[in-house]
C-alpha cells in the first residue's frame, strides 16, 4: 500500500479500501522503523498528521474530497510551517518555530493533504549531496553508503523509501531534479514564478522555485494543480489563470520534436549513462517523438555564472539571520559586532559561510562589474541559447546528472567538484525554465534519471511526455529494499 502512487492511493481512499488515518499511521510506523537509518525526516508531526487525517476522512465522508484529501506528504524543511520547527538544515534555525505557513504548505493543507513531517536538506539548500545539513546527512535508500543528492535529499529519500506518498522540494540549481535522479523518483522544477515563494526560505530569489518530488509524473501533476498559481504575497509569482496539469497527460507524443544538446552528450558523460539515455530516446521515438541535435553553446558558463548570482543573492538573503529577532544568538555577546559575527559564525556551517563570502566579494566595490554584472550578462546568453533552441524543438532531453549517486564523503573535500555536479541542471534555473527528472534506468543497482526541459510554462507538456514514458516503462515503479 505504501509504495502506491498518489493517484492509486486516492482511488483506494475513495473506494474506502483504507482510511486516511490508517494510511497515515502506516507511514508513521514505517518512518519510525526506517528513519533512524535514513535520516530523511528532521521533524515529525504525528499528532498533527493524525488529526489532519481524521479531518480528511470526515471531509471525504461529507463528500468534500479533492484528489489530495487524506494523502500523507512531507515538506522540505525550507518551507515555513506554523508552530512547527522550520530549521532549513541549519543550526541558525534549529530553534525556529515558524509563526506562519508557507503558501505551498497552506495550499496543500487546504487541499486536504496530511503533513507527516519536515524533511532533511542541505543547509539553506546549499549543496548537492545533503551533506551540509546541520542534522547530519541523509542516506540514499538504494545504498545507505551513498548520498541521496541535494539539496532536497530528505524529500527524495522519503519518497523513494515509501516514507510518504509524495513530498515538496525546492530547486535553485538542480535541488529537485538531481536528488530525484539519485533516488529513482520523479521531480519537477516549475517555471520560475509558477509557484509562490511566500514562506519558502530564500536561497537565491531569482532562481528558487518549489516543486513536487513524486512517484510518477501523474502525481507531480496532481501536486502542481494545488501549489501552482498566482499569490498576491509574491510579486514575482506569475499572475496567470490556474491550469489543470493532468489534462494533457494522455495526449499522444506524435509529432513531438525533442532536442538533444550536443554539450550534454559530450566527453563529460560516461558511456554507460549515454547508453541508458539512448534506450529512453528509442522508447520515446517508438511513441512518436522525433529527435535532433541542438546546441547550447554557453552551457559550460552556467556553473560559473550561477556561482556568482546565487551566492550574491544569498549573501543578502541571509543577512536577516543576525541573532536579533529569531534564530540562533551566540552566548553572552560583548557588543553588537560580536553578536553579529559569532551568531553568524557559529550558526552557519562552512558551505553557507563560503557562499556568503563569495557573494559578498562578487558584489563588493571594484568587483561588481567583473563578477556580478558579468554573470548577469552570461545569464542572458544562456537564456538566449534556449530561446534559439526552442524555435526548432518542443523539448530538450539530456542527463540530469553525470552519474548515479556517489558515496558519502566522496566529493566534499573540494567545493568546486561538488558544484560541477549540477552542470546539466543549473542553466535551466538561470533561464527560469521548467525542467523535470524522471527515472530512465538503473546502473549498478542505482537509479539514474533523465532531464526534460521545456520553454516557459510548458509544464503540462513535460508532464505529458513523462507520463507517456512511464506508461511504457517501469523504471519509476522500482523501489529500493530498505
Amino acid at each position: 500500500m505504501l509504495s502506491k502512487t498518489v493517484a492509486e492511493l486516492a482511488t483506494a481512499l475513495a473506494n474506502k479500501d483504507v482510511s486516511s488515518v490508517e494510511l497515515t499511521q502506516a507511514y508513521l510506523d514505517r518512518i519510525a522503523q526506517l528513519n533512524p537509518a535514513l535520516n530523511a525526516y528532521v521533524t515529525l508531526t504525528p499528532e498533527r498528521a493524525l488529526a489532519q487525517a481524521a479531518a480528511a476522512d470526515a471531509a471525504r465522508a461529507a463528500g468534500q474530497a479533492t484528489p489530495l484529501t487524506g494523502i500523507p506528504i512531507a515538506h522540505k524543511d525550507i518551507f515555513c510551517t506554523r508552530d512547527v520547527l522550520t530549521a532549513c538544515g541549519s543550526r541558525m534555525l534549529a530553534n525556529f518555530t515558524s509563526p506562519y505557513d508557507a503558501c505551498v504548505v497552506e495550499r496543500l493543507q487546504a487541499a486536504g493533504a496530511v503533513m507527516l513531517g519536515k524533511t532533511n536538506m542541505d543547509e539553506f539548500a546549499m549543496g548537492s549531496s545533503n551533506e551540509t545539513s546541520h542534522f547530519g546527512p541523509v542516506h540514499n535508500p538504494w545504498d545507505q553508503a551513498r548520498v541521496p543528492g541535494g539539496s532536497s535529499g530528505g524529500s527524495a529519500a522519503a519518497v523513494a523509501a515509501d516514507l510518504c506518498a509524495m513530498a515538496t522540494g525546492t530547486d535553485t540549481g538542480g535541488s529537485i531534479r538531481q536528488p530525484a535522479s539519485f533516488c529513482g523518483i520523479t521531480g519537477l522544477k516549475p517555471t520560475y514564478g509558477r509557484v509562490s515563494r511566500w514562506g519558502m526560505i530564500a536561497f537565491a530569489s531569482s532562481l528558487d522555485q518549489a516543486g513536487p518530488l513524486s512517484k510518477s509524473a501523474e502525481d507531480a501533476a496532481l501536486m502542481m494543480n494545488v501549489i501552482a498559481g498566482a499569490d498576491a504575497r509574491d510579486s514575482t509569482c506569475l499572475d496567470i489563470p490556474a491550469e489543470d496539469f493532468t489534462a494533457q497527460l494522455s495526449k499522444p507524443l506524435t509529432g513531438l520534436r525533442i532536442g538533444l544538446p550536443r554539450e550534454h552528450f559530450s566527453s563529460g558523460l560516461s558511456t554507460s549513462v549515454q547508453e541508458i539515455l539512448q534506450l529512453a530516446i528509442r522508447k520515446l521515438e517508438s511513441l512518436g517523438a522525433t529527435f535532433r541535435d541542438i546546441e547550447l553553446p554557453n552551457n559550460h558558463l552556467s556553473v560559473p555564472a550561477y556561482y556568482v548570482i546565487a551566492p550574491a543573492e544569498a549573501s543578502a538573503n541571509l543577512s536577516r539571520f543576525d541573532g536579533a529577532r529569531f534564530g540562533y544568538r551566540c552566548e553572552n555577546p560583548v557588543n553588537l559586532e560580536d553578536m553579529y559575527k559569532r551568531s553568524r559564525g557559529e550558526g552557519f556551517g562552512d558551505e553557507v559561510k563560503r557562499r556568503i563570502m563569495v557573494g559578498t566579494y562578487a558584489l563588493s566595490a571594484g568587483y561588481y562589474d567583473a563578477y556580478y554584472k558579468k554573470a548577469q550578462k552570461i545569464r542572458r546568453l544562456i537564456k538566449e541559447d534556449f530561446d534559439t533552441a526552442f524555435k526548432d524543438v518542443d523539448l530538450i532531453l539530456g542527463p540530469t546528472s553525470p552519474h548515479t549517486a556517489f558515496k558519502l564523503g566522496e566529493k566534499n573535500s573540494d567545493p568546486v567538484t561538488m558544484y560541477l555536479e549540477d552542470i546539466y541542471t543549473i542553466a535551466v534555473n538561470l533561464a527560469g525554465l521548467p525542467g523535470m527528472s524522471l527515472p530512465a534506468g538503473m546502473l549498478g543497482g542505482l537509479p539514474i534519471g533523465m532531464q526534460l526541459v521545456g520553454p516557459a510554462l510548458s509544464e503540462s507538456r513535460l508532464l505529458n511526455v513523462a507520463h507517456q514514458f512511464q506508461l511504457h516503462t517501469d523504471w519509476h515503479t522500482q523501489r529500493p529494499e530498505v
Partner: protein
Amino acid sequence: MTWETVIGLEVHVQLATNSKLFSGSSTHFGAAPNTQASLYDLAMPGTLPVMNEEVLRMAVSFGLAVDAEIGKRSVFDRKNYFYPDLPKGYQISQLDFPTVGRGSLKIQLEDGSDKIIAITRAHIEEDAGKSLHEDFQGMSGIDLNRAGTPLLEIVSDPDLRNAKEAVAYLKKLHSIILYLGISDGNMAQGSMRCDANVSMRKKGDTEFGTRTEIKNVNSFRFVEKAINYEVQRQIEILGDGGRIVQETRLYDSDKDETRSMRSKEVANDYRYFPEPDLLPVVIDDAFIDAIRATLPELPDARCQRFITQYGLSEYDADVLTSSRDMAEYFEAVVALCGDAKLSANWVSADLLGLLNKQDLNISASPISPQSLGTLISRIKDNTISGKIAKTVFEVLSDGETDVDAIIEARGLKQVTDTGAIEKLVDDVIAANPDQVAQYRGGKEAVFGFFVGQAMKLSKGKANPAQLNELLRKKLSA
C-alpha cells in the same frame, strides 16, 4: 582669503500612506513598540515585499511638481549593511533607476531675487526602525514600527551657497510636499529629515572641496545653525592650513555644534545590486498624465494668481501661499467677505501674529476662516468698526466662534443712528467750551480731541465717518 560655501541637501520625506512601502502594516505614528511590525517588517525568513501603489503615485506627483524627468522604468536595489534597526540587513532603495530624475525648484533669496536649485533625483526607499538607548540591562531596545515606512529621498545638486539658501530650499520643499499632500512634513516627528553636505572652496574655484555630511537635522532653525557652525569650523581648519576629513558628523542642538560620528567602519561598501524579489516598476504616459491631472495648484502658480486675481502685493502673496493650509485659509476668508486686501491684512498680520505667539500652525488656528470672514464682513457692512473688530478678534482667539453673537452679547454694534451720534457730539461740545473756543479760533488740531472724547463716550461704537461729519458741522456752526 575669501571662501565660498557649497551645500547640497539630502532630504528624507516620509510619505503619508496608510500602509508601509512593502507590507500591509500601518504607518501610524506613536503606536506601542513593534505592534506595527509584520512578518515582512521583521524580516522573518520566507517573507517577500509587495509594493504599495500609492507610494509610486506620490513619488510621481512630487516629480511632476518639480518639473522632473519621471523614470518610466524604475528599479529597486538592495543596499547592504548590518544594523539592528535594519532587520533584513539591507535597505530596499533605488540606485541607478530612480522614479524621479532631474528636476528643479525656485527659491527666493533675501534680496528678493529668485534662484533655481537643481534637484539631482528623488528615489523611493524604506525607512529604518528605531534603536532606543535607555538602559535595558545594558542593552538597546529595537522598535521596528517605523521599519518599512515609505521614504522619498530628495537629493539636490550642490547649488546652495549659504545656510539661509539651504533653509529657503527646505522651506520650499516642505511647502511643495504639503501642497501635494504626500507627507505631513512634521520635522519634530521625523517625517522630514535633512542631511547636509557642506564643503568650502576658494572664491572663483570650480572644483569642490572635501565635504562633510551632517546627519539628521530636524528643524529649519537647526539646519541653519548646524550649517553655520560647520562652515565656521571648516574655515578655521582651512585657514590654519589644515585639511577637512570626509566624514559624517552629527549636529548636537544642545551644544550647537557638529561632532564626528564615532564609527569603526573603515569605508562603507554597500554592495548594491538589483532587488530580485521585486520586478522593475514600469509606468506609461497614461499613468503619469492621470497624476498630472489631479495635481493641486502649486505654491508658485498660486502666488502668481493671488497677485493677479486679488491684486495683492508680491510680498503678501508670497506669505499667503507659503503653505497650502494658509492659502486655503485665506481664500476661504475672501470667499466669505469679498475683500481680498482686508483679508490679506487680517490673515498675514493679526492671525499670523496670534499663531506665532501661540506657536501654532494655521491648521490648528483657534479662529476658523468662517469666523474671520464673518468678522471682516461686519466691518464692511458697518456693523462694527475696525477698532472694535480687534476686540472681537481677541474674543474669537479665546475660543468663541459666533461673531454676531459676540457683537450682540457685548453690545459692540456700531452706533449709526444720526440722532444718537448728534447727542454725543452735543454733549462733548457742551462739556468742553475751552477747546471749542480754541478750534473756532483756528486751532484745527483740537479736532482730534473731540473725536477721541466722543468715541470714548460711545465706548468706541460710534461710526467714525458719521461722527467726523457731525462734529465738523456742529463745530463750524
